[in-house]
Amino acid sequence: MTVPTVESARTWFSAQKIAGYGAAAFAAVFVLYPVYFLLQAAFDVGDPQVRPPTSYGLDNFSGLFQFPQILLNTVNVSLAATVMALVFGFVMAWILARTNVPGRRLFEQLMAVPYYLTPLLGALAWSLLGSPESGFINQIWRALGGHDHLIDINTGYGIAWVMALFEGSVAFVMIAAVMKSMDPSLEEASQVIGASRLRTMLRITLPLVVPGVLGAAIFVFAEMLGSFAVALVLGLPSRYYVVTTAIYQLVQQYPPKIQTAAAMGVSLFAVMFIMLFLYRRIVMAGSYVTITGKAFRPRVADVGSLRYVLLGVCVLYVFVAVALPLATLLYASVQKIAVAFPVAGNWTLDNFRTAMSMNAVRSALGNSLLLGFGTATIGVVLMGLLAWLIYRSRLPASGLMEYIVMFPQAVPRLVFAFGMMWAWVVFPIPIYGTLWLLLIAYITVFLPLGVRTIAGVMLQIDKSLEECAQMCGASWAFRVRTVTVPLLVPGLVAAWLLLFIASVRELGASILLMGPHSKVITPSIVESWFGTSSELTATLALIQTLVVAIAMIVLVAVTRRVGAQPVD
């Protein structure tokens, strides 16, 4: 019988500690280092050209009140978009989770598509559709005898509409999860005692899902506050600025108003931080009765012939959020000057020819795919370690780590990139202007996304499965390899795909961090929108969508094949 010694205790700790604290240290540096620079700029009231700052103060923040309109716009757009997104999300979640509408499976999958399409694509398409003068919808309106314009997409509500269409799928996922985790017996109980279906809906269903919906509302609202692409594309023509686009303009103009922009960024971040703090509180405290960790088979209501009306609602949403934008871009991409009604001689394939020959875009697309691959692969390892460290190990400071890891969620990516730009430009290792910087940026800003996804799967795995391996005498590395990772594989694959897509469609962080040798696709599309015709931009957006879709299909096929083999 060998006798356990103190020595062996030390070696055990080192393997786990090195991996865990290594990952934690990386995350802390990546997250906090840029934030430090951001805060420094926000409180710098000295000569903006001189760094480090010569004097600090709050003037930059008090100066923000010069922009009441921008603050008002931001709140208006975010509120309107949140309300609309929640309505879309709630209605679709109810229809697809709780009624016997035909084709539920298919629609449930289609609901994810707007998320993959990106709000930028939606904004470009809706710009073509809804500009007051040239918008296709308004052209048709006038051709039918209407006056002036039917819709104006270049307004706060227009921006909110497009944001809501695309964020609606996020709200849908969150609300559908709540509805599915609700014990149907609670509703049955109501109906048994004679309440009508409507009454049951109002008195039982609604109150039960309220915490979940409220959580979704706050989460979506925070996302809206930090969103950038839609307001940039649709707001600029009508000078409708929100905080993020204002920051972008302030940074880009000459001389730049770095300090004002930083103060705006820090304020936005503070508000989002509070919102997300509330969200956490609601999700953690308000688990109420609905979240038992058990997935119930949701009771599906037979809605009779109303199901065809509900089917119509589903089709309409998918049409407006997916089919119409794609069709619009396709239609615009084959015209010289995009108009609603076909004109002979206006057809051209030049846009595709030009796009394919644009070296920048070709390399940008390649870079984006490469970065997506790198971000997803490194991210899954790093975020897996972090998720384990935070939610599974009982190492001290895991609570603090959770806050650090979730921190980027509260910082709009554009603002974060703004901090990173400075943080890494003075960093002794020359990664500024390279793909490495973007890789670091992506991994940092997607920390919350990846850690949350992996943790979600990790928490579903019974802790005793790992403990049992430990009791069998397996070292930490051995049980991670033989038990934890194989059990996590489905979650890790999902996280990988999610990170891949998020990286390829990333805009806010990339737009400030791209270098001459590190162009990526989404900001290139925005640049194209600023600097070339909308037809060419539509073509680029289509090509991006197509390439990402193909990449996804290939990746899913590959992972299916790999996943089908028995794990040993």
């Binding site: 356990p4 062996s8 055990w12």
Partner: protein
């Protein structure tokens, strides 16, 4: 208090296999275990029994190394695996223990064979050895024909057997059981109880067993430690625990009991019997069993030891008249509630004469069965 045991060492005064001394475990400022000490002898099966939240599982997990205690000392084979004073905390995988989990913890991505072989492979056993030992372990738990199955295709009872085989296949020095039967249905639980006890005897392995189920504890243990609020209330053989509960808590938790309070009537003491008088004026004779005799006393009477009769019994002590409150038929026995002065007593019996509610009856109990409680 040593119990003779087939696999136990024959020599006198063996050193304890597991020693737990002054174990405390706090979650933040919330105490889970508040100073627990006990020994487990080689080959002995000790059960930690108590309601949920009493700290029994936490104590077990602390022995396993899955929870880090706040203070105290745990020794296995005389070697400290945890000691707050010496800053020792040997990780779980180095303690040479094994454990069966409440949730079975069968790895769904492996076959039954691979699940059982895991501990052997960790120890780098040769392939023939793995096949041999796993085969033997599976036959012991009667699961040989399932070796190639995926764990997810097994029923609860089958998973439990696999978990068991996996736990002992690599000959650990100690087996820990964390409520291993609580997820099984009642019938299967009773069967598995016997199987487990047999297996434990056959392997002669030291084990610590955690349960909240009294019958399980009584049936399977060499010794039982009853826990409450992070402390051990009483330790003893199943018989001692049942017959001579030390506290009201043990008396009530280990089978149902009537508690009777009263004032000491030293003047009425007869031989080794002590007398007390209840507030209603009933005189109750009881045995002290070496426990301190105070002015205010509490005694325990098991419900099965109360006898009800319509005619006055011959006994002279502990015979009282009472009135039937209600009766509840419970299959194996009938539960009778009687009004006895200003309190209710409950009596359980298999063959009760038919009695009507409101009937005046006599109740009686052997004074030896009336146990003086320690505080």
């Amino acid at each position: 208090m040593q119990v003779s045991h087939p696999a136990g060492p024959v020599s006198a005064a063996p050193t304890p296999h597991i020693e737990v001394h002054g174990l405390e475990l706090y979650y933040g400022s919330v105490p889970a275990v508040r100073g627990v000490s006990f020994n487990v002898l080689p080959g002995e099966q000790l059960t930690l029994l108590g309601p949920s939240g009493c700290g029994k599982s936490t104590t077990l997990r602390a022995i396993a190394g899955l929870e880090k205690p706040t203070s105290g000392e745990i020794r296995i084979d005389g070697v400290p695996v945890y000691s707050s004073t010496h800053q020792i905390n040997v990780p779980a995988e180095k303690r040479r223990l094994s454990m069966v989990f409440q949730s079975y913890a069968i790895w769904p991505h492996m076959t039954v064979f691979d699940n059982v072989a895991y501990g052997l492979r960790v120890r780098r056993a040769s392939a023939p050895e793995v096949i041999d030992k796993v085969g033997h372990a599976l036959s012991l738990v009667q699961m040989s024909e399932f070796a190639g199955r995926r764990a997810s295709q097994l029923s609860g009872g089958q998973q439990q057997r696999v978990a068991l085989a996996r736990a002992f296949v690599f000959s650990p020095s100690v087996l820990l059981f964390d409520e291993p039967l609580s997820n099984l249905d009642a019938k299967l639980r009773a069967d598995m109880r016997i199987e487990l006890r047999d297996l434990q005897h056959r392997l002669g392995i030291t084990s610590v067993y955690v349960t909240h189920d009294l019958e399980e504890a009584l049936a399977m243990s060499d010794r039982i430690a009853v826990m409450r609020d992070g402390l051990i209330e009483q330790t003893g053989t199943p018989d001692e625990i049942y017959r001579l509960p030390r506290s009201a808590f043990v008396a009530d938790f280990v089978g149902s009991a009537n508690l009777i309070r009263g004032r000491l009537r030293a003047d009425l003491a007869v031989n080794d019997l002590i007398a007390l008088e209840t507030s209603a004026g009933h005189v109750v004779y009881c045995m002290a069993y070496g426990r301190p005799v105070r002015a205010e006393l509490v005694v325990s009477v098991r419900t099965v030891h109360l006898t009800i009769s319509s005619d006055r019994p011959a006994a002279t002590q502990n015979v009282w008249s009472a009135r039937i409150g209600k009766t509840v038929f419970q299959g194996d026995f009938t539960q009778v509630h009687v009004d006895w002065g200003d309190q209710h007593l409950i009596a359980r019996g298999a063959a009760m004469e038919p009695i009507a509610v409101g009937q005046e009856v006599y109740i009686t109990v052997d004074p030896k069965r009336v146990v003086l409680l320690d505080a």
